[in-house]
Symmetry: C2
Subunit: 293 residues, 2 copies
């Protein structure tokens, strides 16, 4: 049963992640207005009761709360700051939540322009992948004012398992960058460990059983090395999206005057994988750079 | 009560790890003969009933099973292959178990020379650190013949939580190298993630709460980042010992014709840390290379 007392939510970007997340909001009883660049991908939500709108601006003109999860920072910029976009057409007092992984500086710029127009905003990128989105077990990292964070918590609780107020505008994106930097290292270590094991003639399943639960263990090893052993390089999480994140992290670190040689190396390895045609594979396909059989 | 039906065990190397491990064997009722380069460190075991012997060879001449856990491959070579060492003086049919993290090639050489003398041998390095040794929760990675592994399992069960037969002679050391390569990556990622977070002005505790249980998580992050946040760079696991392991792994990978840029980078960073006086700190002191305040 739909709770009509709830805020109307606009949802822009119903790709693999967004479709699951918007579905949870429908399940929770929020009246939903949806838009997606590729219309067909939003239709399953429309069949479940969401209303289609023809542009991001049109969504914003109808919603109390607008959530976006689109591809790249350039997409975020276009839907928020473009002609006829969200900021121009949002209703006074509306809450805008960008859940795309994007740049901290863009998040801060949107927050400023939103405030100047009497709007509230949060940057709230997620971690947990397609499975986390589907099972409402996402980790949500949130930047913005504390009272705005509090206003959004009922929505986060419908989509995620943990949500953290990381600080002011941009802090959600910065936290997500820290998250991706850690993954870059643990994935690199796990893949190199098993490349070594294979080269040394060890059984990969035996090696996994011996080391994955101990000091060498990581989410990356536990969740991705079994796929590598099974020959499954399909995404989970796309190389092209991870590479986008790593490039942002590297640019941000650079802007902060911080040298991160591990991040630099991981980025250059994923650049190489992408240049060799790996963009549409999963992040565990880093394996291909080592396993040249 | 001592079970005198049990094999007599010789234990060489009663440092931080070895003292705990030998203590568990005493607890399990094994008659124990001990030797250590620094005599005083073995005295607590002698007070609990172990018998002191003046050299590795003297230990071997009295024991059914000889366990070694010494510092460096050069030490392993000396106690096994040196004049009057273990191989020369071991009793026919004795089982020799080297639990030092050492080179696979040396493990294979010892196995060959042991077999030529009618002795059995295993390479069985451990992971889990001082706490794992103290609490008998070590991960033990074992190379050697299957029936020799089976003979040693009662001893492993007294010292460890998991023990895996990884393959023939040297496979235990190769598995340990895979383990250390994975740790190098996950530690590097965790440290760089929090160096970024600090630089970006995030709260480190908040960041830890937001990301450590998700896709960015690892044993390294869970166990070492809280020490970094607390300003505690004491060993856990010494930089000098980790560096020894990384150098062995790098040399082995090189011998296998395998390029591991992540391992190379981590090794060079730990070399730098060591050259700046970090040898006696814990591995989490990698932080010092990033936090220049």
């Amino acid at each position: 049963m739909i709770d009509t007392a709830r805020s109307t939510v606009g949802f822009i970007g119903t790709g693999v992640m967004g479709a699951s997340m918007a579905g949870h909001l429908l399940d929770a009883g929020y009246p939903l207005i949806v838009h997606n660049r590729t219309r067909e991908r939003a239709m399953p939500l429309v069949e479940r009761g969401a209303v289609w709108a023809d542009s991001p601006g049109a969504v914003a003109s109808l919603a109390d709360i607008v959530i976006t999860i689109v591809g790249y920072p350039s997409d975020v910029e276009a839907v928020y700051l473009g002609e006829g976009g969200i900021l121009q057409r949002a209703r006074r007092g509306a809450l805008l939540i960008d859940m795309t992984t994007s740049t901290p500086s863009l998040a801060m710029r949107i927050a400023e322009e939103a405030a100047a127009r009497g709007l509230q905003s949060l940057d709230a990128p997620v971690s947990g992948g397609d499975v986390g989105a589907r099972e409402a077990r996402l980790t949500i990292m949130v930047g913005g004012e504390a009272e705005v964070f509090a206003r959004a918590e009922p929505l986060f609780s419908a989509m995620g398992r943990t949500w953290t107020h990381a600080g002011g505008p941009g802090a959600g994106q910065h936290t997500k960058m820290a998250n991706q930097i850690a993954i870059a290292g643990s994935m690199l270590g796990a893949i190199e460990a098993f490349a070594y094991a294979k080269s040394a003639g060890l059984g990969l399943e035996t090696t996994f059983a011996a080391i994955s639960a101990g000091a060498a263990g990581s989410f990356s090893m536990t969740n991705y090395v079994p796929r590598v052993i099974a020959g499954d390089l399909a995404p989970g999480f796309y190389v092209k999206h991870f590479l986008k994140d790593l490039r942002i992290a590297l640019a941000e670190a650079d802007a902060l005057g911080l040298e991160l040689p591990g991040l630099s190396l991981a980025t250059s390895l994923y650049e190489r994988l992408a240049s060799e045609g790996g963009n549409e594979l999963g992040t565990q396909a880093l394996w291909l750079l080592y396993d040249r059989d």
